[in-house]
C-alpha cells in the first residue's frame, strides 16, 4: 500500500531530525499523537500539532507520559495509527505501557530523543544511555524493535519503517534518536506518496463468530479487529489465551510469552537493518549507531589512511540485536571497537555475540557531547596491534 498523499510533504527540505521524524509519522499514516512536553523531543509533537489539523487527525497534550503512552493504545484499537514522543524521564514513565503494548500486541511507535541521564540529567545535551531501557525497561519477558537514525533524513525514513514494522509484527517500536540527531538540520528529501510503501494494519477477514483475537497466523502474529465493528473482542494485559481471555495457567503463560519473543525472530536473523563498509578485509570493526556512528565514520577514515584495515558496522536495528551477523564477523576479525554515549550498553550485546572469538573494546562516554574522533581512532589503533 502507498502513503496517503494527505500526510506527505513531498519535496526537498531543510529540517532538523525532530521535524523530519514528525513528517515521517504523517507520511506513515499516523493520525493520532499524544505527548507531554520534554526537551529535546517536543519539536516532534509541536510540528504534529501544527500540521495535523489540516491533514485530519488528533494531537492531544496529555497530563503526563503515563497518559500519553496509553492514550495512543486506545487510539490504535479504535483504528488509528498512533505514536508518542518523549525523552529520558518521560521514557521511564512510559515503561509500564510499553509492556502493555507488547502484551496486547498493540502496534504503536514510541520516539525517544535521548538526552544525558540518569534522572533529569542533561536535558539539552545528547546521550545514548536508554538503549537497554528500550529493550528491557518494562517488567517481564517480551520483545520490541528499536531503530537508530543518524541523520534527519533517516529520522524521516526510519519513522516510516517504525510504523511499518509495528504493524507487521504487532509490537511497540522505539525510535531511538538522540539530541544531536534530533536537533541537527540537514537536507531531507520527502518522496512522492506513491514512492512510500506503507504496511496496512492486519485486520482479520473472519466473521466475528470465528475470530479469535490472539490466534496467531503462520508468522506467529495474530490479526486484529477494530473496535465498533461487532467483534466484541476482549483485550487484557493479563496472561491470556487465544480468545483473549485471562488464563493463569503455566502452559498459557509459556505459550504466550514465548510467542511474543519468537515472532521477532525473522527480524533478528537476516532482516535486521545495518550499514556496513569495508568488512571484507577488516581487522577491526567499529560497531556504532545514532550520532556516534558519524563520529566513528571519521575515525574509520583516519585509521584507513594510516593503513589500518578498519571496517564499519552501523546498527540501524538495535533491537532485535543482529547477533548472528556479529558472531559471523567475530570469527574473522581481530577486534570490535564499540563507541557509544553511555558507559557500556550495546557493547554488552557485541560481547555476547562475539563470544570470545574477537576482542571487544568499549569506548564509553557519559554523554553531554559526542566523542572526539581521535578517542575512537586510538581505540582502533590499539585494537589493530
Amino acid at each position: 500500500m502507498h502513503a496517503d498523499p494527505k500526510g506527505v510533504l513531498t519535496g526537498v527540505h531543510f529540517l532538523d531530525g525532530d521535524h523530519a521524524c514528525c513528517e515521517g509519522t504523517l507520511a506513515a499514516g499516523a493520525r493520532f499523537a499524544a505527548g507531554y512536553p520534554i526537551t529535546p523531543s517536543t519539536e516532534v509533537v509541536e510540528r504534529f500539532a501544527s500540521r495535523i489539523p489540516t491533514v485530519g487527525g488528533i494531537f492531544i497534550q496529555m497530563e503526563d507520559e503515563l497518559a500519553a503512552s496509553i492514550a495512543i493504545q486506545g487510539a490504535v484499537w479504535a483504528g488509528a495509527k498512533a505514536f508518542t514522543v518523549t525523552s529520558g524521564p518521560g521514557f521511564s514513565l512510559m515503561m509500564e505501557h510499553i509492556g502493555l503494548a507488547a502484551m496486547t500486541e498493540t502496534p504503536c511507535v514510541f520516539v525517544d530523543v535521548q538526552r544525558g541521564g540518569p534522572s533529569t540529567g542533561l536535558p539539552t545535551l545528547p546521550g545514548q544511555a536508554d538503549m537497554m531501557q528500550a529493550r528491557w525497561g518494562s517488567h517481564g519477558d517480551y520483545g520490541i524493535i528499536a531503530l537508530c537514525p543518524n541523520s534527519p533524513q533517516e529520522c524521516f525514513d526510519l519513522t516510516i519503517q517504525a510504523f511499518n514494522l509495528s504493524e507487521e509484527f504487532r509490537v511497540p517500536v522505539m525510535m531511538m534518536m538522540d539530541e544531536c540527531v534530533g536537533h541537527m538540520t540537514e537536507k531531507v528529501v520527502i518522496p512522492e506518496p506513491d514512492q512510500i510503501e506503507i504496511t496496512p494494519r492486519r485486520y482479520t477477514k473472519l466473521p466475528p463468530e470465528e475470530y479469535r483475537p490472539f490466534e496467531p497466523r503462520e508468522d506467529l502474529v495474530p490479526d486484529m479487529a477494530r473496535t465498533g465493528e461487532g467483534y466484541r473482542f476482549h483485550i487484557t494485559g493479563l496472561t491470556h489465551d487465544e480468545r483473549g481471555y485471562p488464563n493463569m495457567s503455566v502452559e498459557t503463560q509459556d505459550r504466550l510469552v514465548r510467542r511474543l519473543l519468537a515472532k521477532l525472530n525473522p527480524l533478528a536473523n537476516g532482516r535486521s537493518l545495518c550499514e556496513t563498509e569495508n568488512l571484507e578485509d577488516a581487522d577491526v570493526v567499529v560497531v556504532s549507531y545514532g550520532i556516534t556512528s558519524r563520529v566513528a565514520q571519521r575515525a574509520i577514515q583516519l585509521a584507513r589512511s594510516r593503513g589500518i584495515r578498519a571496517g564499519k558496522f552501523r546498527l540501524i536495528t538495535a533491537w532485535p540485536f543482529p547477533a548472528e551477523r556479529i558472531r559471523e564477523l567475530a570469527g574473522r576479525v581481530k577486534a570490535f571497537v564499540v563507541p557509544e554515549l553511555n558507559l557500556g550498553q550495546m557493547v554488552l550485546e557485541v560481547e555476547r555475540a562475539a563470544a570470545g572469538q574477537a576482542k571487544v573494546i568499549p569506548v564509553s562516554h557519559a554523554g553531554g557531547t559526542v566523542h572526539n574522533p581521535d578517542t575512537i581512532l586510538n581505540a582502533i589503533v590499539e585494537a589493530a596491534r
Binding site: M1, D4, K6, G29, R31, F32, A34, P53, T54, V55, G56, G57, I58, I60, M62, E63, D64, L66, A67, A68, I70, A71, I72, Q73, G74, A75, V76, W77, A78, G79, A80, K81, A82, E96, H97, L100, I198, P200, R201, R226, T227, G228, E229, G230, Y231, R232, F233, H234, I235, T236, G237, L238, R243, Y245, P246
Partner: protein
C-alpha cells in the same frame, strides 16, 4: 421512562446473559459483593437505552471492579492500574462514533488514576465513568484507598484510617464533569436509570456507586455481610437530587446522600476542538476521520 420488561432469551437463565461473556462464568467476585449488582444495572441500562452495542466500548483499570470489562460482551479493554481514562480518551478521539464507558474502582480511578480523572473532567471528554466505590483496595487485600473513611480498619491502617478522604462527587463537579450522580447497590432502579441517562448524555459523566466488599472491608470492620450492607444503605441513604456536592461527604457509618447532583451542558472536548480549529483555520481545517482504514 418506561421500564423494559426483560425477556429471557432462549437457552438463557437470566435476561442479562446476552450482555455477558457466559463462557467466562463463573466470575471471580465473592458472594455478597456489590460489583455484580452494578453490572446487572449496567446491562439493563444498555438494553433500555437502545444504544447500538457494537459501538459501545468498555474500558477498565485493574482491581476487582477492573474485571468488569472482561465479563461484558462488548469490545472490552482491561488496561493498566489507574489508566483506563487516558486509554478511553485515545479511543474516543480516534473514533468519536464510539460510546466509551470507563468502569473501575475507587483506588484505580482516584488514587493512582486521580490525575487522569480530573483532566478528563476538565476537558469534558465524552466518556461515561462509573466508579464502584467499596472504599478499599479490594483486589490486593483490603488496603486503604483515598476514599477509606476515618476509623475504618484496613490492611494498611491496622489501627484505623485517619487521612481525610476525597469526596468523589464534589471532586468531579469541581473538575468540570457534565453529569454527576451517586447511588448505592441498594438503589438498583435509580442506578440503572442514571446509567441509561449518561449513555444519552454528551460530555464527561460520572456515576459513583457505593458497593459492599463483604470479604475484606466489612469483615475487618465487623460490619456483617452483603445483606447487612444493603440494610445500612437502605437506612442511611437520603435521596437529594441537586444537593450541593460539597455537602455529600461520606463517613464510616453516617448518612449517605445519593441522587443526581449535576446535569449541565458544556461543550465537550471535540466540540471545543472543532470550534477553535475552524476559527483559526477556516476552510483549511480537516476534521479527523472516524478511524482510518489504514
Amino acid at each position: 421512562m418506561t421500564p423494559t420488561t426483560l425477556e429471557i432469551p432462549d437457552g438463557a437463565q437470566n435476561p442479562v446473559e446476552p450482555f455477558l461473556r457466559m463462557d467466562r462464568m463463573p466470575h471471580i467476585w465473592c458472594p455478597g459483593c456489590g460489583i455484580g449488582t452494578t453490572v446487572n444495572c449496567f446491562t439493563r441500562a444498555l438494553l433500555d437505552s437502545k444504544v447500538n452495542l457494537d459501538k459501545v466500548a468498555i474500558v477498565s483499570g485493574i482491581g476487582c471492579t477492573g474485571r468488569v470489562a472482561g465479563y461484558a460482551r462488548l469490545d472490552s479493554f482491561h488496561t493498566t492500574h489507574g489508566r483506563a481514562i487516558p486509554f478511553a480518551t485515545g479511543m474516543k478521539l480516534a473514533n468519536p462514533e464510539l460510546q466509551v464507558v470507563v468502569y473501575s474502582g475507587d483506588g484505580d480511578l482516584f488514587a493512582i488514576g486521580g490525575n487522569h480523572f480530573i483532566h478528563a473532567a476538565r476537558r469534558n471528554m465524552d466518556l461515561k465513568v462509573i466508579c464502584v466505590n467499596n472504599m478499599t483496595y479490594a483486589m490486593t487485600g483490603g488496603q486503604s484507598s483515598s476514599t477509606t473513611p476515618a476509623h475504618v480498619i484496613s490492611a494498611t491502617a491496622p489501627y484505623g484510617a485517619f487521612e481525610p478522604t476525597f469526596n468523589l462527587v464534589a471532586l468531579a463537579e469541581a473538575a468540570g464533569a457534565s453529569y454527576v450522580a451517586r447511588w448505592t447497590t441498594y438503589h438498583v432502579k435509580q442506578l440503572s436509570r442514571s446509567m441509561e441517562e449518561v449513555l444519552h448524555k454528551k460530555g464527561f459523566c460520572f456515576i459513583e456507586v457505593l458497593s459492599p466488599c463483604p470479604t475484606l472491608y466489612q469483615r475487618r470492620n465487623k460490619m456483617g455481610d452483603g445483606l447487612d450492607a444493603m440494610k445500612y444503605y437502605k437506612q442511611a441513604s437520603k435521596i437529594r437530587n441537586g444537593a450541593p456536592t460539597g455537602e455529600c461527604t461520606l463517613s464510616k457509618s453516617g448518612e449517605i446522600v445519593v441522587g443526581k447532583f449535576v446535569d449541565r451542558d458544556r461543550p465537550d472536548y471535540l466540540e471545543l476542538l472543532r470550534a477553535q480549529m475552524t476559527e483559526a483555520l477556516g476552510e483549511r481545517y480537516v476534521e479527523s476521520e472516524a478511524s482510518c482504514s489504514c
